[in-house]
C-alpha cells in the first residue's frame, strides 16, 4: 500500500453515475458534479481522508497510486 503522502485522488468518469454522494460528504469541498459526472474542482484542498472512496457506490473515485 502506498503511504498517505504518495496517494492522489483518482476519478474514473466512465463508472461515475453522478449520484453526488462523494460531493455531499467531502469535508473539504474538493468535488463537484459537472456534466452529470464527478469532477475534481480543488485538488489542493484534498486531505486524502478517503471518505469519497468509502461511500462511492460505483467505485469511480478513490485514493491510490503515486
Amino acid at each position: 500500500m502506498s503511504t498517505k503522502t504518495e496517494q492522489t485522488l483518482n476519478v474514473d468518469k466512465k463508472w461515475c453515475k453522478g449520484c453526488g454522494i462523494c460531493v455531499a460528504f467531502c469535508p473539504k469541498d474538493v468535488l463537484e458534479i459537472k456534466d452529470g459526472k464527478v469532477n475534481i474542482k480543488d485538488l489542493e484542498a484534498c486531505i486524502k481522508c478517503g471518505q469519497c472512496e468509502l461511500r462511492c457506490p460505483d467505485y469511480a473515485i478513490y485514493l491510490g497510486g503515486k
Binding site: 474514473d12 453515475k17 453522478g18 453526488g20 454522494i21 455531499a24 468509502l54 461511500r55 457506490p57 460505483d58
Partner: protein, 273 residues
C-alpha cells in the same frame, strides 16, 4: 483503471454494475471485500452465495467462489457449501425480501443451527428489482407500488429476529458509516457460528421516490441523523427513541457450531471401525 482493492476482488470486466445511481448496494459490497481484505483471507477460501434481487447481483461482480442461487434460498445453498467444505468462509449476500420473506424460514433455521455462515442483508426497505413492492422491512405506513395508500403491515426488526432465532453474532450498520460496516463484517466472519449483519442501505429509485425521501444524498443524511449507536441508544428515553434506530453490535454469544457437531457424529463412526 480502478482502485487496487476493486481490481483485486472484483470481476472488473463486469463493471460498472447495474445498480441505479445513488443505490447503496455498491457501498455495502465494497465494505464486504474490504473486510475480507483486512482479514487477509485467501480468495479461494471464500465462497459468496447470494439469492435473487438487486443486492444478490453482487455475487456476479465478485471474484471469489461465487454462487448466485434461487430466490430466498441463498442460505440453503450456503448450508450445503459449508457442510461439503467446512474450511470455506461462506458469506451470504441477500436482500430484505430475499432474506426475510421468501427466505424467512431458511434464515431462522440457519440461525437456529448456528452454522458458521456470515449473512449480510442489504436492507433497502423495498423490492427494488421488481419495481418497488413493499417488503417485510418496509416501515408501517410507508408506500410501495403494492401499498399505494401506505403499508399496513408491521415491519420486521431483522436483528431481533436473527437474535431470537439463535444467531451468535448480530449487528446493524448503515452505508453512511462504511467503516463500522467493515468492522462488523470482519467480526461476523471471525465468529464461529451464524453471523447476521443488517446493512441499512438506500433505494432512491423506488423506496425513496415512493416515499418522497429525496435524492440519494438526502437518504444518506437521514441515516446519519437517525442511526444511534447502541451505547447511546440504551440511554435514550422512549420519547427520544421515536424515529431513531439502533446501530452497532447488538448481540454476541457462543453456542456449538453446526458443522463441528455434524463432524463429531461422522468421527464417532470412523472410530468404531
Amino acid at each position: 483503471m480502478p482502485s487496487q482493492l476493486v481490481n483485486e476482488y472484483f470481476r472488473t470486466e463486469n463493471l460498472p454494475h447495474i445498480w441505479c445511481p445513488g443505490c447503496g448496494n455498491g457501498i455495502v459490497t465494497r465494505a464486504i471485500i474490504k473486510a475480507i481484505d483486512n482479514l487477509n483471507l485467501n480468495k479461494d477460501d471464500v465462497c459468496i452465495v447470494s439469492g435473487i434481487g438487486c443486492s444478490s447481483r453482487a455475487s456476479g461482480y465478485l471474484d471469489f467462489n461465487t454462487l448466485h442461487t434461487t430466490h430466498g434460498r441463498a442460505l440453503a445453498f450456503a448450508t450445503g457449501v459449508k457442510l461439503a467444505n467446512p474450511k470455506l468462509n461462506v458469506i451470504v449476500i441477500t436482500g430484505d425480501g430475499d432474506c426475510s420473506a421468501i427466505g424467512g424460514n431458511h434464515l431462522i433455521h440457519a440461525a437456529r443451527r448456528n452454522i458458521d455462515i456470515t449473512t449480510v442483508v442489504f436492507n433497502n426497505n423495498i423490492y427494488g428489482m421488481t419495481g418497488g413492492q413493499y417488503s417485510p422491512t418496509t416501515p408501517t405506513g410507508d408506500k410501495g407500488t403494492t401499498a399505494p395508500y401506505g403499508n399496513i403491515d408491521m415491519n420486521f426488526d431483522l436483528c431481533n429476529l436473527a437474535k431470537a432465532a439463535g444467531s451468535t453474532y448480530v449487528s446493524r450498520g448503515t452505508i453512511f458509516n462504511p467503516n463500522m460496516l467493515i468492522k462488523q463484517v470482519e467480526e461476523g466472519i471471525k465468529n464461529k457460528g451464524f453471523s447476521f449483519i443488517e446493512a441499512i442501505t438506500t433505494c432512491p429509485t423506488y423506496y425513496g421516490r415512493k416515499n418522497k425521501k429525496g435524492e440519494a444524498v438526502d437518504m444518506m443524511i437521514y441515516l446519519k441523523e437517525n442511526a444511534v449507536n447502541v451505547a447511546a441508544y440504551d440511554k435514550l428515553t422512549d420519547e427520544q427513541k421515536e424515529g431513531k434506530f439502533v446501530i452497532g453490535e447488538l448481540y454476541k454469544g457462543s453456542k456449538p457450531e453446526y458443522t463441528e457437531e455434524y463432524n463429531k457424529i461422522i468421527e464417532s463412526f470412523s472410530k468404531e471401525r
